[in-house]
């Protein structure tokens, strides 16, 4: 097991180095002169240009620049935003809890509905329920989620007036954001109704963000269930006279869950990409919206830093998924 963990860790390094190379080259690939971009003016005189260039470290050879960049990254120094002049890491960390909260809620929604739907569809193969689940999940999988968000706003917020249109909390409340997670912060505060307001702001974005993972989980659970239900041990369990419920939930489901867990882990990337669109629609003050704004403002250090942090996060989530997979499935960790 230890060996498996170590081997898996060694896969992380090339990926991480590659991502840093990518973000490092980003600043050199952009059209135009980075010095002029930084200064925010064109045609600056040669002396000042050279001085600024030296200040930014762009006069050194590329390898030296890269090593300096890596040193900064390891220490958590990702540069400063062109626009706000604040450190990138600080900006990111301030916004990340909002994205994390939204992602966790979306994933909870997806698992809560996707897993049972997939199990039922798998057990009742070929029935109308199966066809409905498969049809709905394929539709969800094909959904342009930015439009899905607009549609839900149109129906639930505008027509019915059940949920708020955007943001994280009603403007009526002023909450100390200690943890950054609105649900926790509002629970700890003694403002009555604040928690309810935070929750109602979360519902629509979570549904929108959770739709594609929901579809993927439902499809995966179904096909995995179908496979497991044909196994000998399921027949044995049935022959022993166990109740169908016990056969499905204990004997079949535990084994069917293994590929489903991998899929859930792999949805992290999908969630973060979806967060970009979802946060833009719902004006959710998270990392995704921040990256879109940074790109529109051509705030290159922010784009660079944001991509680096998100990619690193995904690499580590994938690592964690692999490790969990190795723990629950002995066949994986003993191969090779």
């Amino acid at each position: 097991m230890i060996q498996f963990i170590i081997r898996r860790f060694f896969y992380v390094f090339p990926a991480f180095i590659g991502v840093t190379l990518l973000t490092f080259s980003l600043i050199h690939l952009i059209p135009g002169d980075p010095v002029e971009l930084r200064a925010g003016e064109r045609g600056i005189d040669a002396v000042r240009h050279a001085k600024l260039k030296a200040e930014m470290g762009l006069d050194k050879p590329l390898t030296v620049q890269y090593i300096k960049y890596i040193r900064g990254v390891v220490k958590g120094d990702l540069g400063k935003s062109f626009v706000t002049k604040r450190p990138i890491l600080e900006e990111f960390l301030a916004l990340f809890p909002a994205t994390l909260e939204l992602s966790v809620c979306a994933m909870t929604f997806a698992i809560l509905f996707g897993l049972p739907a997939g199990i039922i569809a798998g057990v009742k193969r070929g029935s109308p329920i199966d066809h409905t689940v498969m049809g709905v999940s394929l539709t969800g999988y094909s959904m342009p989620i930015f439009w899905w968000g607009l549609l839900l706003i149109l129906f639930f917020s505008v027509k019915l007036g059940w949920t708020p249109v955007s943001g994280r909390l009603s403007a009526l409340f002023w909450i100390d954001t200690d943890t950054g997670f609105m649900l926790i912060d509002t629970l700890r505060s003694d403002e009555p109704g604040a928690f309810k307001s935070a929750l109602s702001h979360l519902i629509l974005p979570s549904i929108v963000l959770g739709t594609i993972p929901l579809a993927v989980i439902a499809r995966m659970t179904r096909s995995s269930m179908l496979e497991v239900l044909q196994e000998d041990y399921v027949r044995t369990a049935k022959a022993k006279g166990l109740s169908p419920m016990r056969v499905i939930l204990v004997h079949a489901l535990r084994n069917a869950l293994i590929p489903v867990i991998t899929v859930i882990g792999l949805q992290t990337g999908v969630l973060l990409a979806g967060a970009i669109l979802t946060e833009t629609i719902f004006a959710w003050p998270g990392v995704g919206k921040w990256i879109v704004e940074s790109i529109n403002r051509r705030d290159y250090p922010a784009i660079q830093g944001g991509i680096l942090i998100i990619a690193t996060l995904i690499i580590f989530v994938n690592l964690a998924v692999d490790l969990v997979y190795g723990i629950i499935n002995p066949r994986i960790r003993h191969t090779r």
Binding site: P144, F146, W147, I281
Partner: protein, 299 residues
């Protein structure tokens, strides 16, 4: 004796591969429906100039935000209503089909061609070259596709051409990995060894011996790739990083729809429905294609 001969000659000749394929494909009703919709969309795209009732750019200033024809205030002149500057939504959707299918075609062609070359060479030559290519693909897969595409657009600047390029780069790893995996499993088979013994060179081995036997999963992936390309292009258009206004692109049509959500639901609804149906059609057809081409599924 003569009876047995007669009986065997009475047997129908075996189906041609195409016929056999259609037999399995047409069993899947969803896939056939998807295919019909794709054909319909292609016809709309090709004959957009004749089928669209109005120009997609012309602004009818006297008919701003006019509702669809079946609602009060709607007219038969604009079947699906008009947008905030009085352009016919139906015409824009029809012309948008041309754009979306074009994006799909270009993205799939680019990524398929590059993916096949990289996948074939890395599977065939192996060694450090393969390790390098595959690690590179792993890195690209570690990034959410939309984020990577946005980064590329940030470098190249927002335009439809750059969006197409970005999406083609982003989906590349899937084709490379798929081709490489097929090459790896085919490489050890006898027919490959036989042609090597016959003295076939690397190019012949890769493109004439191996490639045709690796095509089935690639065709399926290419079909599904259409839906990804259309969806991603629409998402980039929506974020203002793809097609620029006034281009009648489906995603870009939704970009500022949020502000009309209170008074003109049709501006919001129709472009989205169109994207959903098109993507769904390609996904259905792709699923059907996979089932029809997978020998394990054939009974």
């Amino acid at each position: 004796m003569s009876e047995t001969i007669a009986a065997s000659s009475n047997q129908a000749p075996p189906d041609t591969p195409l016929k056999e394929f259609w037999k399995y494909f047409s069993e899947n009703r969803g896939a056939v429906m998807g295919l019909y919709f794709i054909v319909f969309a292609v016809i709309l795209a090709v004959f957009a100039d004749f089928l669209a009732p109005h120009s997609p750019f012309h602004q009818y200033r006297d008919a701003i935000l006019q509702p669809p024809c079946w609602l009060d205030g709607g007219s038969l002149k604009f079947l699906l209503g008009t947008d905030d500057v009085g352009r016919c939504i139906l015409s824009r959707l029809i012309h948008g089909a041309r754009l979306s299918l074009f994006v799909g075609c270009i993205v799939v062609t680019l990524s398929l061609a590059a993916g096949i070359i990289l996948g074939l060479t890395s599977g065939y030559f192996g060694g450090y070259y393969e390790a390098f290519i595959m690690r590179l693909m792993d890195i690209m897969l570690a990034l959410p596709s939309l984020l990577l595409a946005m980064a590329i657009v940030a470098i190249l600047g927002p335009s439809l051409r750059n969006a197409i390029l970005a999406i083609a780069i982003v989906v590349l790893p899937h084709y490379v990995r798929l081709t490489r995996a097929s090459v790896m499993s085919e490489k050890t088979k006898d027919y490959v060894t036989a042609s090597r013994v016959c003295g076939a060179g690397p190019l012949r081995m890769m493109f004439i011996v191996l490639l045709p036997n690796c095509m089935a999963p690639l065709i399926v992936q290419a079909t599904l790739g259409f839906s990804t390309a259309i969806l991603d292009a629409a998402a980039l258009g929506f974020l203002g990083m793809g097609a620029q206004p006034p281009t009648p692109e489906w995603g870009a049509m939704l970009a500022n729809a949020l502000q009309f959500i209170q008074r003109a639901w049709w501006v919001v609804t129709f472009p989205g429905v169109t994207i959903l149906l098109t993507v769904l059609a390609f996904n259905l057809a792709g699923d059907g294609l996979r089932d029809a081409m997978d020998p394990k599924m054939k009974r």
